[in-house]
Amino acid sequence: MLSRTADNLFWLSRYVERAENMARLMEMGYRMALMPAVGDGNRSEWESVLSASGCLAGYDPDAPLRQEEVANYLIFNRDNPSSIINCFEYARANARAMRTAITAEMWEALNNALMELRRPSMHNLAKNELPEFIDWVKKQGSLFRGATDSTILRNDGYDFIRLGTFIERADNTARLLDVKYYVLLPETSMVGDGVDNYQWTTVLRAASSLRAFHWVYRDDYSPHRIAHFLILNPFSPRSLAHCAEQITQHLERLARHYGQRHDVHGQAVEMYSLLTQSAMDEIFSEGLHEFLTDFQIRNGALSSAIAEAYYFGGQ
């Protein structure tokens, strides 16, 4: 497969996943903002969402940190490279640059998403019915993954698509946890009270994992359990451990398919082992934020190593 095509597939699925995760972060901010204010009433949910999505630096410092303005920036702003509309624009541009590598169903899923998103009525929906808009975005991600899952050949292209999905998802789950633990509640004294619990369950909701969590842990909403579910539990579809497992498997498939191993294979195994061999107690005692930061750096390095191993930048 052409290196440029592999590169395009990898980023195409990253953009779709990113759009969906942006919606999930907003869902979290939206729900947290529904909670009664704590402490001095200084509401920072939307600032946290900006921060967690890596979009704070680009946000106009004079603009209000209210839902309407922040959501508009995160969804429709063309100057924000991570805005949902840009994610879909980039994803579709990538798809268009390699129409032969994706199926008609995948193309239609992306094309329809962008066509709908460009409609003026979507601005009203996002403004007046944010939860409904968020559901719409999540649905587009599902449609694309469903189309991919049911139509594409299980060849190397499939592996690059899946690698993009899980690299991006891991990054986003780490950000989601980080915004909760680091930005929202820097004062450890508040950990464990009612507001804190509510916020933790909100993290689960944003990860579409609340019901799954019930099945696994019943009603034990301790931060410990929730963090475990999203970091170390291999059965949780958005956990770091699950993402790392998938990344390792798809890299293995590529190694078998091509009969070539690269540095990236070792790096992936190392990242995966870190997650299978850690315990939540250790992570908390060494600092959740530090752990998540380290993970994001490793994950980013893995993405670069994939690009290098498969000549995304040329030979």
């Binding site: 052409l2 290196s3 440029r4 592999a6 268009r96 390699m98 129409r99 094309n111």
Partner: protein, 467 residues
């Protein structure tokens, strides 16, 4: 004016079944089908971008549901005529890059060929595989009467539009399954296979295995990008950009996830000027540095071969009937449109005196830009154009305004006749192949003769009825 569907108030025979269907179903059903078809096109993403215009970069090319239909015997004549032309044009190209017999024989002026911008000194003396330069010849044909067909121009480089021929048919078969069931319409779907066979047959001398074929595109911003990706997909070959290819040890490779993979045949959709910055335009980022060296040494085949453009120059066009007589010893089956060459003093005088009746074109122009349609122009436009001609007469040719045939077409006011032309795509390699069909273009504005998609023209499916 000849109407493709009716003659002497009678429906012409090939259109009989279609007209019956339309009458039985009524305009509402047709309108419904039209909307369905548009949605389908948008969904598939078949679009056509126009250079230098604002607006939607992925504009849909207007598709008209009413097909243009040829009888089997009409097609037999077109088929023979087009193949004859494709053969003569390729013989001409080999000749002008080798012994130039046609020039020595005094049939074509030397300056017209050797001083032509499209003449490529870099390929003089090179033998392309099977001595073929133009592997895909798109011949633009117009009709003025039941038996009167004229060739308007030849496209020997990389004629576009064949994806519309194929996609239009797909859409029509989805819209009108009962018509396809009951009528015997020649299928066109074998075109990609024929193209692949043609490309395989021109593998370069150094290729010692099943040739690796690629389609080279300038990229997703190109107006014909959809067609490039469509053809690559239909043939099951890689669609590459210049950045994907590189030259090493006298061979061409593409960058893949496994490392370099050798490329043997390049179907390029990039102009000569851009394919190799070391040989042609140094500022090109679309091409492959060193490609021409590999080509010269027989390491890669390029379709169409560099230099093929000299055969579709509008001034050279006027000599195609002479080429057919000279090389093939035959009379042309399809006529040229009578043409005045402004480079000749007598012709220039005539053209300037009759601007109001003629169509004047730039010799090197394409896409319908920069032409003067006499009857549709104002006196001021004619006067301004006359100045341009006088400044450089050799750059212009003129033709009579032909009464192009019209085909019933969906327009805002209902169904009305609109002028059409026709472009079949002839393939030349180990054999000369022609799929039974082509692209019918239609001028959507009333009275307009300009069918180019860059000028608001639309397309129709073309049906060849079998005997």
């Amino acid at each position: 004016m000849f109407n493709e569907m009716t003659m002497d108030d009678q429906v012409r025979e090939p259109y009989r079944a279609l007209v019956d269907w339309m009458e039985a179903n009524g305009p509402e059903v047709l309108e419904q089908k039209r909307l369905e078809a548009e949605t389908l096109f948008r969904k598939i993403g078949i679009t056509f971008a126009v250079y230098g215009e604002g607006g939607d970069p992925e504009r849909l090319i207007p598709f008209d549901l009413i097909p243009r239909i040829f009888t089997a015997s009409e097609w037999r004549k077109l088929d023979r005529g087009v193949k004859q032309r494709a053969r003569a044009l390729n013989t001409f190209l080999y000749d002008v890059y080798h012994n130039a017999e046609i020039i020595k024989a005094g049939i074509i002026p030397a300056d017209l060929v050797f001083k032509n911008d499209a003449f490529e000194p870099a390929v003089i003396g090179i033998d392309p595989p099977r001595k073929v330069y133009s592997h895909i010849v798109g011949v633009d044909i117009v009709r003025t009467g039941p038996e009167d067909f004229y060739v308007l121009e030849d496209n020997c480089r990389t004629p576009s539009g064949v994806s519309y021929m194929l996609e239009n048919r797909e859409i029509m078969m989805r819209m009108f399954p009962e018509l396809f069931k009951n009528l015997r319409i020649e299928p066109v779907e074998s075109y990609p296979d024929m193209l692949l066979k043609t490309l395989k047959s021109i593998a370069p001398p150094k290729c010692d295995r099943e040739p690796n074929i690629v389609v080279l595109t300038p990229g997703a911003m190109n107006s014909a990008y959809y067609e490039h990706s469509f053809l690559a997909d239909q043939m099951g070959v890689e669609l590459v950009e210049g950045q994907d290819l590189f030259v090493s040890d006298d061979r061409v490779y593409m960058r893949t996830t496994r490392g370099p993979a050798r490329v043997d045949v390049i179907y390029r959709r990039i102009d000569d000027a851009y394919i190799d910055p070391l040989c042609f335009r140094p500022d090109s980022v679309l091409g492959v540095p060193g490609l021409m060296n590999v080509y010269r040494s027989g390491g890669v085949a390029i379709c169409s071969a560099p230099g093929a453009g000299v055969a579709d120059d509008k001034a050279v066009y006027t000599y195609v009937p002479d080429m057919i007589r000279f090389y093939l010893g035959q009379e042309p089956i399809l006529n040229n449109v009578p043409t005045w060459k402004c480079g000749k003093p007598d012709d220039l005088k005539y053209v300037l005196e009759h601007l109001g009746e003629l169509v004047v074109k730039e010799v090197h122009g394409s896409g319908g830009y920069g032409m003067l349609v006499g009857p549709a122009s104002t006196r001021e436009e004619q006067a301004a154009y006359a100045e341009r001609i006088k400044a450089d007469p050799g750059d212009f040719i003129a033709q009579p305004t032909l009464a192009l045939s019209a085909c019933p077409t969906f327009v805002e006011s209902g169904i009305a006749p609109r002028h059409v032309d026709f472009r079949p795509f002839c393939l030349v390699g180990d054999d000369i192949r022609l799929a039974p069909g082509g692209l019918t273009r239609v001028a959507m504005r009333e009275g307009s003769l300009v069918v180019n998609s860059s000028q608001g023209g639309g397309v129709k499916d073309t049906w060849i009825m079998s005997d």
